[in-house]
């Protein structure tokens, strides 16, 4: 193809964000936390489930991508899941400069969700700006 503008491709943002969260949790000694883009109805363990929810091109070389992030952690209180949610939240807030990510916005902070399995769960949303090549 040819046109007035260059062809710009973007690295897989879902692959990036799951890898980033996983690495951040491993660095915190939480390598047992399952980080995935797949919803597991039977999950009762510590887990982070990332849901891509769209985005659009900003300029010729930049684009936004939004994500919904579900965080699960069993426990008699909400403290374990609150701690895990804060781990994820604070790691993501520091992500600009990682890979092709140029900016990060937390759209909504983690809020409690009544999970059908009864496991303490939080849900947050965020948006990144990525640069293509």
């Amino acid at each position: 193809v040819s046109g007035l503008l260059p062809v710009v491709r973007y690295a897989d943002p879902l692959l990036w964000i799951t890898g980033y969260i996983r690495a951040a949790l491993v660095a915190l000694g939480k390598s047992d936390v399952r980080v995935s883009d797949r919803y597991d109805e039977t999950n009762t363990d510590r887990a982070v489930w990332v849901l891509p929810t769209g985005g659009h091109r900003l300029t010729v070389v930049t684009a936004t991508r939004r994500f919904g992030i579900n965080i699960y952690a069993p426990g008699p209180t909400g403290q374990p899941v609150n701690t895990l949610a804060e781990d994820v939240r604070s790691a993501l807030a520091a992500c600009p400069g990682s890979g092709a990510v140029k900016a990060y916005t937390e759209l909504s902070a983690p809020v409690p969700i009544d999970d059908p399995n009864g496991i303490p769960r939080r849900y947050m949303t965020c948006e990144i700006v990525i640069k293509g090549a």
Partner: protein
């Protein structure tokens, strides 16, 4: 080098944020988001889909809120499907 000093016209900004044209444009975009939400909303009983609405909510500026404000399981459906978050793109760009 001369330094540029910017003084924000607060009264002018407040007037802009409450302008009829801004209000109308927000309303148009909110209706587009609502339409996208209703299309993407998972339907079992239809209660969640029919509860989706646009609310005019004025603070110090005109705003619109789009979503379900009455059903407690709305957040669970959003957390599982992201149908509300996905609908934001229907608002279009700047």
């Amino acid at each position: 080098m001369a330094r540029v000093r910017v003084v924000l016209n607060s009264a002018g900004m407040a007037a802009l944020l409450n302008d009829y044209g801004v209000d109308a444009e927000l309303g148009r975009r909110a209706e587009a988001i609502l339409s996208a939400q209703k299309s993407a909303c998972p339907v079992e009983t239809g209660h969640l889909q029919s509860s989706l609405q646009v609310q005019a909510h004025t603070t110090d500026r005109v705003t619109r809120r789009v979503g379900s404000f009455s059903l407690p399981y709305g957040m669970l459906v959003e957390a599982r499907t992201g149908f509300i978050s996905r609908s934001v793109d229907a608002a279009g760009g700047a």
